[in-house]
């Protein structure tokens, strides 16, 4: 299950940011999305955040101190999304 989610997130990143020249498969699951890795910046993070909320229905709390760690890699994002979904399901 998890690997399917990771793949969806990779495609979401590529599509949201118009990453021409970079295919979803080119983004390593543990590759750093920011800094020396893929090189995304804070505006990219904002855009990905919006799309993640839309696509997976998870809330992103911009005040959350751990926010940057959720966005550190595709794997971390997938974990964040699946936890967020579980948390929401439990709340219902």
């Amino acid at each position: 299950m998890l690997s399917g989610l990771e793949d969806r997130i990779r495609h979401l990143i590529v599509e949201t940011l118009n990453l021409e020249g970079i295919k979803a498969e080119d983004i390593g699951l543990d590759e750093a999305l920011f800094g020396d890795g893929l090189g995304l910046d804070s505006i990219d993070a904002l855009e990905i955040g919006v799309e993640i909320q839309k696509a997976f229905g998870v809330k992103i709390d911009t005040q959350d101190e751990k926010l940057s760690s959720y966005f550190s890699s595709v794997r971390a994002l997938a974990q964040f999304v699946s936890q967020g979904r579980t948390a929401q399901e439990q709340a219902i």
């Binding site: 020249g21 893929l38 090189g39 995304l40 505006i43």
Partner: protein, 558 residues
């Protein structure tokens, strides 16, 4: 001289030289004889005629003939077959010296004649002269001028710049107002001769230069003067119009030709407005004689002059600051302030920030309606930064640039989409059209034709292509007669080269790109890609066994 006075034409005696075509001299009588012949063909009918000539002597004969026959004249800016069909320039209504354009066209040819002396023709002063400008949508738009508008400006020009004392050599066409005024009317009003041929290469301009010569050029040419030209005769004047001339280009022209170019600000609608010579960067503009300058509440330049045709101020798209001495500074075009996600963003400001980066030598910022109004950047990377670009790849490199930019720009001003090019695309008048910039960002689906057959080896790849009519390239260019634009031909070659060899295009070698025949929907073409070293790729499109286009693409192996 009154404003619509053509008496300068009668000032030429029959044997006076009126046109120089290389070594050949055409007399006023030669021009008149051809005009008389053509007029007889044109007196019956009142539709406007389309005049397109490569040779300014033929053009002059056609113009005199049409105006004296009382016909309005429209001047197509170029002669792409699809364009001529779209504007209705077909059959005998098309007056041209180009035999290949339309079998039914009225052909103009001024040649030296002996014996017969032609009568002088009387111009019908009510007939108009119209130009085609590219509207904001890309569809051609006409701009109709009275003879008085054009003649009054030419007369003012003669007063301001004096008579030309040598050949007036142009790199621009007389089919546009600037070329028409400077290359045709100015010498005629001074009873000098018109240089028939437009010169595209600086080497040829230099070859034709004589004592007292004048160069009538544009930013496109003046920013590309080759090194090592051996100039024997310095020009007395260099003119530039059609777009802003960068200070560096002005400086370069001064170093190579010994004259600071005189830049003329104007538009087809207004005619000439102001001029300047950049002895220093950002020199102010001086209004031309008879031109009144004002500005509206947005700071937009407004112009009233006999050349602009009336008693009312015409508002132009440029933002200006007027100074007490009557001169003004020119700022951004107002249409270059766009809304990005609801916030006003000045594209020139973004461009300035981009050009301020050491890694960037030239840049255009553009809003992209097709991409939800996102901001795009077309940039030329400095030679010392190309290694970083190829090491990081386009995307990561764009983020490095964005990081640098964030020191100066707000988040909304930071370009989201980036295109790295060898040279910013410009049209024949040296203008950077929004449509051409946006084309660089168009959705990459549906942009490669159907491949019927491919044949690939290590050095050469051949593709039989069918130009399916639903290719997105056919959508914007001339709705009634779509053609495959040059930018598409380059793009298709680049995409296929990347697919075959992992060759990533970084730009094209425009000096070597030649478009010979138009390619239309449904055409079958053979594209041959040939690797030429690691950093270059030659391409050639064959249609019915003839070369339709060819050129070179620069790039890197991925």
């Amino acid at each position: 001289m009154t404003m619509s006075d053509w008496s300068f034409l009668d000032a030429y005696a029959a044997s006076d030289p009126m046109v120089r075509r290389g070594q050949k001299i055409l007399s006023a009588n030669d021009v008149r004889l051809e005009a008389v012949r053509l007029k007889a063909l044109l007196v019956h009918g009142d539709d406007p005629v389309f005049l397109y000539c490569e040779d300014s002597g033929n053009f002059l004969a056609g113009l005199i003939a049409a105006l004296s026959a009382g016909r309005d004249v429209l001047l197509p800016g170029h002669a792409a077959p699809g364009f001529l069909v779209e504007i209705g320039a077909t059959g005998p209504l098309l007056l041209t010296d180009q035999t290949g354009l339309d079998a039914g066209a009225t052909i103009i040819s001024v040649e030296p004649q002996h014996g017969v002396v032609a009568p002088s023709l009387e111009i019908d002063t009510g007939a108009t002269i119209g130009f085609f400008t590219s509207g904001s949508t890309g569809a051609p738009k006409t701009c109709i001028k009275s003879q008085a508008q054009i003649l009054s400006e030419a007369a003012a020009q003669l007063v301001l710049w004096g008579a030309p004392c040598g050949p007036v050599i142009g790199t621009v066409s007389h089919q546009h107002i600037y070329g028409l005024l400077f290359r045709v009317f100015w010498p005629l009003m001074a009873r000098a001769s018109v240089e028939a041929m437009r010169q595209d290469m600086w080497e040829d301009v230099i070859f034709h230069a004589r004592e007292g010569c004048v160069f009538v050029s544009s930013p496109a040419h003046l920013s590309r003067i080759p090194d090592g030209l051996s100039l024997v005769h310095r020009p007395a004047h260099i003119f530039s119009s059609g777009g802003p001339l960068a200070f560096a280009a002005s400086r370069d022209a001064f170093i190579k030709f010994g004259q600071v170019p005189i830049e003329v600000l104007g538009s087809t609608e207004t005619g000439g407005v102001a001029w300047r010579q950049q002895h220093g960067e950002g020199e102010h503009w001086t209004p031309l004689p008879q031109v009144e300058i004002s500005s509206d509440e947005n700071g937009a330049l407004a112009v009233r002059s006999p050349f602009a045709g009336g008693d009312d101020f015409v508002v132009m798209g440029d933002q200006v600051t007027r100074h007490e001495d009557g001169r003004f500074s020119l700022h951004a075009r107002l249409d270059r302030i766009v809304k990005i996600e609801g916030k006003r963003v000045s594209l020139p400001r973004v461009e300035e920030a981009l050009k301020g980066l050491a890694a960037i030598t030239d840049a255009v910022a553009i809003d992209l309606p097709e991409r939800n109004g996102a901001l795009g950047a077309v940039v030329v990377v400095a030679p010392e930064a190309t290694a970083e670009l190829s090491a990081l790849g386009a995307f990561r490199f764009s983020r490095v640039l964005r990081r640098h930019l964030s020191a100066r720009l707000e988040p909304m001003e930071l370009p989201r989409l980036w295109r790295f090019v060898e040279r910013v695309p410009e049209n024949a008048q040296g203008k950077r059209l929004a449509a051409d910039m946006r084309a660089l960002f168009s959705d990459s689906s549906n942009d490669v034709p159907r491949i019927l057959e491919r044949n690939i080896s290590e050095m050469v790849a051949e593709f039989s292509l069918e130009l399916n009519p639903d290719l997105r390239w056919f959508a914007g260019h001339f709705p009634e007669q779509p053609i495959l634009p040059g930018v598409a031909q380059l793009h298709i070659a680049s995409v296929l080269a990347e697919e075959v060899w992992g060759f990533v295009a970084t730009g094209s070698d425009m000096a070597r790109v030649k478009f010979r025949h138009v390619m239309q929907p449904g055409a079958k073409v053979l594209l041959t890609l040939t690797r030429n070293g690691d950093e270059r790729l030659d391409f050639r499109y064959l249609m019915n066994g003839e070369v339709a286009a060819s050129g070179a693409i620069k790039g890197i192996e991925a």
